[in-house]
């Protein structure tokens, strides 16, 4: 089961060698066996999954199956799914059953892909280790004493461990790519606006973007075909013609210009990661690509800009969690202010509160210009850097994360160290560009290393082509954790 890609499952179903119900039962059994160790899922509901699988089988029997009909998928618990507990990893929403489907969930339902459950995540997607989840940390399938990365840690871990063939994730500063790297899978963050944010619980609206997490680039392309598309309910959703993201997968890489930003290969990068990325570059040269050095001079400022803008938006986005209409409300209070204060003090975890406080501060009267406006300026400079770089190359390549999976608790008390986990990924969100992570080797302890590709705007198909060609030539993506 660990070896299954979406393509292979699709073939099994199409050939009548398995039914969706059978597939789902197998995955559910594996979840039941391994989730107590990994804690990758917050909610599993076999009845719901099997009902959807049943419907998918009926659809196939009626001759109306699409390529992915009947193939199950897990959803990050940030996506509202009708009738499902949708917690966003928080005590604040620990009792919230969504009355509606996110656009992404609608799309997967329409494709006939049964939901295996809702995956664990950092609380409100704020974290890089999954340790901020109210439901406890997810364990890395390669070493259960280590973190899976975050915030889409549950999705990354469940795909890596074969609890699901694919999962949805969201990426605000690296939340798809960094856990994909730390768990040895492939994940893609699309261009901002390609996937609708409707029904995706907001962290930082101008940065959030949903995307696929799977074993291969090809699987990601299939999933993106389902997820992407205009949605009138999201004003930042882009109205463009539907693309086939698989269209360029098989193109040879001869003539491809790969940009290597010198800022991504300096200090702070661990030796094993640097070596694996260098090896990947060598592999690409063998595949006919040429490399050019590019520069992203302002990228060193991206973490600072991000930790102004994202908390600013979050402090406002999370105001709706006030105990009035849904979600957690403190049991005892003496008046309205008391109810607000206790509800939010008890309902949010420490990291969320830290970011709400930072965000409130930077938006305050007298500080707004110095922080928020300044950070917006940096954001433009960072985007300009990329625009400049893409004049010389087709895709940018570098490490996804500065190191492999760290130990649970290792950075939990040092937020700045934790924030630096996303140093290579954050600039991509600030610029609104597409990016992905794919496995490119292992460190001395057998932990996976991620290679990051960054495409130009709407360059997903090209980026997937570059990743797919690498995966045809290597087998890092096919390795699976043993011993769990």
């Amino acid at each position: 089961m660990l070896d299954h890609t979406l393509r292979s499952l699709s073939t099994l179903l199409a050939d009548g060698k398995a039914s969706s119900v059978e597939l789902c039962r197998d995955y559910l059994a594996r979840i039941q066996a391994l989730n107590p160790t990994l804690n990758a899922f917050i909610t599993v509901d076999a009845d719901k999954t099997l009902a959807e699988a049943d419907a998918a089988d009926a659809r196939r029997a009626a001759g109306q199956a699409g390529p992915l009909t009947g193939v199950p998928i897990a959803h990050k618990d940030i996506f509202c799914a009708e009738g499902w507990l949708t917690t966003c990893g928080s005590k604040m929403l620990a009792n919230f059953v969504s009355p509606y489907d996110a656009h992404v969930i609608e799309r997967f339902k329409a494709a006939g892909m049964p939901a295996l459950g809702k995956t664990n995540m950092d609380e409100f997607a704020m974290g890089s280790s999954n340790e901020t989840s109210y439901f406890g940390p997810v364990k890395n399938p390669w070493d259960s004493s280590r973190v899976p990365g975050g915030s889409s840690g549950g999705s990354a871990a469940c795909v890596a461990a074969g609890l699901a063939p694919a999962a949805t994730g969201t990426d605000t500063g690296g939340s798809i790519r960094q856990p994909a790297a730390l768990c040895g899978i492939t994940g893609l963050k699309p261009t901002y606006g390609v996937v609708s944010r409707y029904g995706m619980i907001a962290f930082a609206s101008s940065l959030d973007q949903g995307g696929p997490m799977a074993r291969t680039a090809e699987d990601c392309a299939w999933l993106l075909n389902v997820m992407a598309g205009f949605d009138a309910r999201d004003s930042t959703s882009l109205e463009r013609a539907q693309e086939d993201y698989t269209r360029d997968l098989t193109k040879p890489l001869a003539g491809l210009r790969i940009g290597l930003p010198r800022e991504f290969f300096g200090e702070g990068l661990s030796g094993d990661t640097a070596r694996a990325v260098e090896a990947a570059i060598a592999q690409y040269r063998k595949l006919g690509a040429e490399t050019v050095e590019v520069s992203l001079p302002n990228s060193s400022l991206s973490v600072a800009a991000y930790y102004v803008l994202a908390p600013a938006e979050a402090s406002s986005n999370l105001s709706r969690f006030d105990g009035v209409r849904y979600g957690y409300r403190t049991p005892e209070y003496k008046d309205l202010t008391d109810m607000y204060e206790k509800t939010r003090a008890e309902g949010f975890g420490a990291e969320v509160k830290r970011r709400i406080m930072i965000g409130t501060y930077v938006l305050s009267h007298g500080y707004y210009d110095a922080y928020y406006i300044q950070a917006q300026r940096l954001r433009r400079l960072i985007a300009n850097d990329f625009a400049e770089a893409f004049k010389a190359c087709d895709v940018i390549l570098g490490p996804t994360a500065p190191s492999t999976a760290f130990r649970l608790g290792e950075k939990a008390d040092d937020p700045v160290q934790m924030y630096l986990s996303d140093i290579y990924t954050i600039a991509v969100n600030l610029a609104g560009l597409p990016g992905m992570s794919l496995p490119c080797g292992f460190d001395g302890q057998g932990l996976p290393i991620g290679l990051q590709l960054i495409g130009n705007y709407f360059g997903e198909a090209r980026m997937l082509n570059v990743a797919h060609q690498y995966q045809l030539a290597t087998d890092w993506h096919a390795r699976a954790p043993q011993g769990i």
Partner: protein, 487 residues
């Protein structure tokens, strides 16, 4: 010391869209609590706003009507604060780049015309309602109103008395209903006024410290509240106190204003551009289309009434108090055969005649019945039928009033009423002369006095002849025939 009052108004007008500004829910008034609040309005996790184009179109209409600058790029921002009837914990409004900037409105106070400058007008969403009754120590929340589109219209501090403030508020009310962007229903909260009031020694250039009176929902309360507030502020200053910037509420029962919160408690709203909404870009073609669809505006109509119809500024102002009134007037005029203006053979022009009747008898009847002119029991065409009979001499003014009354009470066309009630004016000398003879015979004393030079006696004789004709004799003709007989 002589004091000068300085007033600026912020008016929240509810726009006449079908649905809310950022969701598809209806904004109809009076529905059961929370039945017109969709998942966007109640701010479920994950929902997003989508701007209602109709609200933008109405703001453009307003901007064009006041000669303002329309910001081709305008931006929605979040105004952050916690309140139970504010579901998202922020209100989506416009802050640094509103859709409408500048512009002005003319007002008339007594004989004086004055121009009030408008600072800006911006789009925003309304909050829900907190219901403090019937919940036994708890508060109920009704989110039907949450997300209702508002255009907040902010004036410069250009008004110098409560009367001017009321005149401005009325002119604004007329304009927004005139161009159809607001239904103007003040009871239902469609037009709510906040007044910023300060006083300063006459001649002083700087403004005094202002206090803001919130949520005045009638013109009468607006005037009362400002008058009270001005007296209170002057008293405070004369007693040696300083005015503290504050938000105050007006209590209609006591006629007093009372501080709600001081500047120290003022929120830091932490405005920032809403990342869920792209900047709004106004397309030139669209603006042109909206402009082409605008009706003739009150000020334009007033000028035309004065210049082309020869009406006074007062009449022109009164007839354009509402678009319905102006339309009624114009429909009446259109149904009259005589020329609208001029003082030709028919005496006053049709315009003045129609104006007098609409502003006089018709308005009185409407007021008495508490009816709007759109619900008038006498249509413009009916009224024109009546006025035509005045112009052709069939009816005297007095008879016309009787026809009007019958028409109001029982309906029907003027000619039918005249026929049925026999109210036709008698202009036949053969019929009037015998009456004159009778009157002269019966009043030798008056005849004597008239011959002795007393003009008053003549009037008494005319009155007697009119009485003898039961008011039907043509007064001009009675005059003429009587003089002939006595001469």
């Amino acid at each position: 010391m002589q004091w000068e009052t300085v007033i600026g108004l912020e008016v929240h007008t509810q726009l006449t869209t079908q649905s809310k500004i950022f969701s598809g829910a209806s904004i109809a008034f009076g529905a059961e609590p929370n039945t017109q609040a969709c998942q966007v309005d109640i701010a479920l996790p994950g929902v997003l706003p989508v701007l209602n184009k109709g609200a933008v179109e109405r703001a453009i209409r307003f901007g064009l009507a006041i000669g303002a600058k329309l910001n081709r790029t305008n931006v929605f921002a979040r105004k952050n604060y916690f309140y139970p009837d504010l579901p998202k914990g922020y209100q989506i409004s416009q802050y640094e780049l509103p859709i409408v900037e500048g512009g002005h409105l003319s007002i008339q106070v007594g004989d004086e015309e004055k121009t009030i400058r408008i600072t800006r007008a911006h789009l925003e969403e309304d909050a829900g309602k907190s219901l403090h009754e019937d919940f036994h120590g708890m508060t109920g929340i009704d989110l039907n109103r949450a997300g209702t589109p508002l255009l907040e219209i902010v004036s410069e501090p250009d008004m110098r008395s409560a009367k001017e403030a009321v005149a401005y508020a009325r002119a604004l009310h007329t304009l927004v209903t005139w161009i159809g962007i607001c239904d103007g229903n003040m009871q239902e909260g469609s037009f709510r006024v906040d007044a910023n009031v300060s006083v300063r020694p006459r001649g002083q250039a700087e403004f005094g410290t202002r206090r803001e009176i919130k949520n005045l929902n009638s013109f009468r309360f607006l005037e009362q509240a400002i008058d009270y507030e001005v007296r209170w502020q002057i008293e405070q200053i004369e007693d040696g106190h300083r005015i503290q910037q504050a938000t105050v509420l007006f209590n209609p029962d006591t006629g007093e204003t009372r501080a709600m919160r001081s500047k120290e408690d003022a929120h830091d709203y932490r405005y920032f551009p809403d990342p869920d909404l792209l900047p709004v870009r106004l397309d030139e073609d669209w603006i042109e289309v909206v402009k082409a669809g605008l009706p003739e505006l009150p000020e334009q109509k007033q000028a035309r009434y004065r210049e082309e119809l020869g009406l006074s500024a007062y009449d022109a102002g009164t007839l354009t108090a509402s678009r319905a009134m102006a339309e009624y007037f114009e429909a009446t005029l259109a149904s009259l055969p005589s020329p609208a203006s001029g003082r030709g053979a028919g005496g006053e022009g049709s315009a003045k005649l129609a104006a007098n009747w609409i502003m006089g008898d018709l308005s009185a009847a409407l007021n008495k019945a508490e009816l709007d002119i759109t619900a008038s029991r006498i249509s413009a065409r009916q009224l024109a039928g009546l006025l035509a009979r005045i112009q052709d001499g069939t009816l005297s003014g007095k008879l016309a009033k009787q026809v009007f009354e019958a028409m109001w009470n029982e309906g029907g066309e003027a000619d039918a009423i005249i026929e049925a009630k026999g109210l036709k004016q008698v202009s036949d000398a053969g019929a009037i002369e015998p009456l004159i003879d009778e009157v002269l015979a019966a009043n030798p004393k008056s005849v004597e006095e008239f011959r002795a030079g007393k003009e008053k006696a003549f009037n008494a004789l005319v009155g007697q002849v009119m009485k003898a004709s039961k008011g039907k004799a043509n007064p001009a003709q009675v005059n003429e025939l009587l003089r002939k007989k006595l001469g």
